[in-house]
Each structure stands twice: as structure tokens, then as C-alpha cells.
Assembly symmetry: C2
Homo-oligomer: 305 residues x 2
Amino acid sequence: MNNQNEHFLGVDVGGTHLKIGKVSQQGEIVSFDKEDTSHYKEDPKGFNTCFVDVIGKYLSKYPDINKVGIGLPGLINKERTTTLEIPAIPELNGFDLKGALLEKYPEKSFFLENDASAAAMGEYKFASSRPSANFLFITMGTGIGSAAVVEGAIFKGARGNAMEMGHMLSRGNARLETIIGRKGILSIMKRMIDAYPEKAGVLLEKELGTHLLVDTAKEGNEVSLMTFEEVGDILGEAIVSTIRVLDINEVYFGGGISAGLEFMMPSLEKTVRQYLTHYYTDDLQLKKATLGNNAGTQGAAALCF
Amino acid sequence: MNNQNEHFLGVDVGGTHLKIGKVSQQGEIVSFDKEDTSHYKEDPKGFNTCFVDVIGKYLSKYPDINKVGIGLPGLINKERTTTLEIPAIPELNGFDLKGALLEKYPEKSFFLENDASAAAMGEYKFASSRPSANFLFITMGTGIGSAAVVEGAIFKGARGNAMEMGHMLSRGNARLETIIGRKGILSIMKRMIDAYPEKAGVLLEKELGTHLLVDTAKEGNEVSLMTFEEVGDILGEAIVSTIRVLDINEVYFGGGISAGLEFMMPSLEKTVRQYLTHYYTDDLQLKKATLGNNAGTQGAAALCF
């Protein structure tokens, strides 16, 4: 029975917090909570039991909810039952999370996914301008997350954990995420300020950060614009290689740094078009993701469909 | 009905020739022919009609054959009916090849595929030591061909033409194939000879070629070994990024230059292990493909299964 009023629980798992949303079939977050999980590590019950218990707290709070989607920051097995490597929460490594949840809440359904893949599904199911059934999704934040939707389903690759674009080798064999994750971008910004102090303006007096980068780029700051130009080049190079491997040429960009997408787009698009043939570029689409701050919980909820 | 004595026609399409094999269910080539296609371009019937006709010649020659596999050097549509971009034979671009064949030989079945993917299927179906159901396949010859088998099927990507690894961006944003295709390898060899003439030995007097490279590496020539070392590094870097995107860590190497695989393997394996975590390297397998010179026809025949 397809109940248009059905709601889902979307759980976005971070290193120290869970974001938990009650989400409608249309993607609307009708209720939102944040749970601090940092003390779970010291709890005598252990992190994993605490984690399973807190899900129960929300299943009790929302007895109408039968399906729970969980977005996890790391690698999980192909069957989507067991967490493999969750760098931010090593306690979760190798834990049959779905099994533990089903044992405690056998009448509910649970859907586990990598968080970038969950965000891609959120965009696919809930965005005002929906992606097609085949697209690449890149989130730029502290790190670089990525996912691909192929024929309407998350692309899992051979063993379940495809799309770790952030760990592709980029210039000088550094990982992409090292160069244009948050820290990398600030390094580029610092290097540009040192090279062109006369163009740095207000940046000379400020503590560097990505919000500052976006804000000053909007004001036309030349160093900020040059920083975005270089980031666009580097990201474009990785996208070229990924397009060659996956033959997917519709790309969405999300995450905090995508607030500056307009400033990296010229160099990004130039790079992509420079290194690809017409077969790829004729239908090429490079777009900003539309879900905002709560893409994590919305994406987790989208796993329930 | 599964007839153990059934035979298939495997057609390996090159720029100037077709290699046509009658292949058994076990992958044995029981009859082999080569057709010169270079004059088709001048034929008043046109290339495409000549191509369709010559297939008919072999269907008449082998009336017991009902299934024909065709490996094509380029991009084809996802439904595997129409050729899109065949750089070596532009006459074939945008031709409904399967439609034309079925119109003329309606009682037969035709299976079209990219030639690297066909070679991968040949390895999968016919190799003495069969790959698992998930593997990456790389052919090193004039160019760099690649394919992936995921869950026992050719990985087509979003639009049908995944796995153009040869066009990934490598060092200095050159395409991988430019750097370590045949010409690129000979450039590396030349550069090494110029840099270390005292180590070049017999290479100083010879016209450079990849057979010479393999033969002299076997004799311990230092320049040849250094050349393979650099090729292994560069190929390893591309494999790291591909593994990150596809999560596939069983890799087979074929093609003429893979005759020197043992010499590039130390640097290749070192690079791959250096940039990947245990999740990838614990089960990592890097192997030589076992099908030899006729992998093209065998692979094309393997499409009929």
C-alpha cells in the first residue's frame, strides 16, 4: 500500500552527532533532532549498543514510522548490512548494524548506505529539479564525497563501495581530497595570498575559511576568484577521468563549498570540455545540487523508497 | 538446448582487417580467417554493405553457426545495436549494424561489443584460470584498452561506454594512452637512453620497439628495466583511481606489452599498495591474462554465451 502520508526516519551519522529527521514522502523535514554521540564511546554499554538504543528512542517517539534510512560516513558491505571502515567512528567498523537493529526492532525496516550515496538519492527523489536516472554527485565540504546513480540505483561497483573520488590520485599523486578538501582549498588560498598580496585585500587581515572564500569571491576579490579557478581546474581533471570510467555526464555538486560553484564553474567546465570528445560533451550537464543543509537527513530518508 | 558441440563465429574488427574465427564452446579456434577490409572504403557498395556481406560469406561457409559475436574498436550504443564512434573506421560511425545484419540474416543472432570488453569476456569464459565475476581488464598495445566485468556482466556505465581508462588524465594532464601507449613507452625508452647512455647497451644501435624492450629487459638491460619501472608507476596510478571509482581489485593485463608485465609489476604493485588502504589491498590480485594472440576472436565468440 502506497500511503502518500507515510513518513520516514532519516538518520545522518556524523563523527560526533546524529542528525535525525522525520521526513515526508515529498522530502519535507517535519521534525528534526540532533543527538550527541561523542559520550557513547565511554559508555559501559559500548558505542554500538548506544547507537542501536537511540534509534529506538525515535521509533518510540514516532510510532507511525516503519522505515529508517541511515547514512554512514564510510565503507559498508555490498549487502548493506555491516559497516566496514567508518574512519570517524572506528567503533562501528565491522558491526552488523542492520542485524542488531532488526533484532531489537524486528517490525521495522532499515536501509543503510554511504552518506554521499544517500545524499545523491535525496537529490534524485526530492529535488525540485530532479536529476535523470544517471548522474554523478559530488559533495565538497571538509572532504570530497561522491556517488553515482546509474539507471536509478546507487552504483555500488564490484564490492559495494564505488565512488571514492576523494581518494583518486590528483596532481603530484596527492589524493583529490587532500588538494581540494577544505584544508587543501585553504592552502591554495594561502598560497595565492602569499603570491599576490596586492590582490588579497581584506583576506590579509582575516582568518582563512571557506565561508570567507565564498563571501569575498562574491565581492570580486581576485585572490578568492583565483583560488576557485584552481579548484575548478583540479576538480575538472578528476571529473574527466571519472566520466571516462563511468560514461556518466550529468554532474551535480553539493556540500558547503558548492556555495562558490559559480566561481569555479568556468575553469571546471573549460577543463572538462578540453579533455573530452563530443560524445561526452554534447549532452554534458554540470549543475548545483538543490537540497540544502539537511541533505543528509533527507538523503537518508530517501533510502526508504 | 545446450549443445556442447555448438560453435560460434567470433569477429575481431580492426582498422584494416577482420579476424574471423570459428570458436568452440570451450574457446578453441577450430578455423581462422583474415579479411582485408581496406578496399571496402572505395567499393561502390560502401563500407557498411561490404561489411555485412562478408559476415554472410562466413555464415555460408559455416551453416551450423547461429550466433555471431563482433568486437568493435570504439564506442557503441548501450543497446549494442549501433556503432557510435569507431575512430579507425569512421564509415561505421552511427550505423545500425545489428539491424542491418538481422535484416539480411534474420535467422541468426548477433552480439556487438567494444573489443576490450569482448577480450575481457573471452578471459572470463575461456581462460584456463578463470577470473572471478568481478575484475578489471587492461590491454596494453598500440593503445590502452580496458573493460570491467561486474557480477559476471560487462560493465557498461551510465550510457554504454564505460572504461575508457586510456583517456583518463595522467601526469601533466596527458591522457594515459599518450604516455604509456606504444608510442609513449618508446618515448620513455628514448628519454632513458639519452639520460643513461652508459646503461643502454645494445639499445644504442637498434631501432626502438616494444618487442626489443621486452627482449632486452629479459636480458637485464638497465634502461629497459627502468622504462618498465616508470610504465608500472604510471599505470599503477591510473589503476588506483579506477579502483577507487569502481571498487574492483582483481586486475588482468593483456595485450602485446603485457609480455613485459613481470618487469613493470614491482613498481606497479608498489604504487597500487602505497595509495590504497587495506580494504582494497587485502584481496588485491594483479594477474597476466592468459588468452594470447587470438584473444580478439575468442573474446568476440564469448559474447555469444
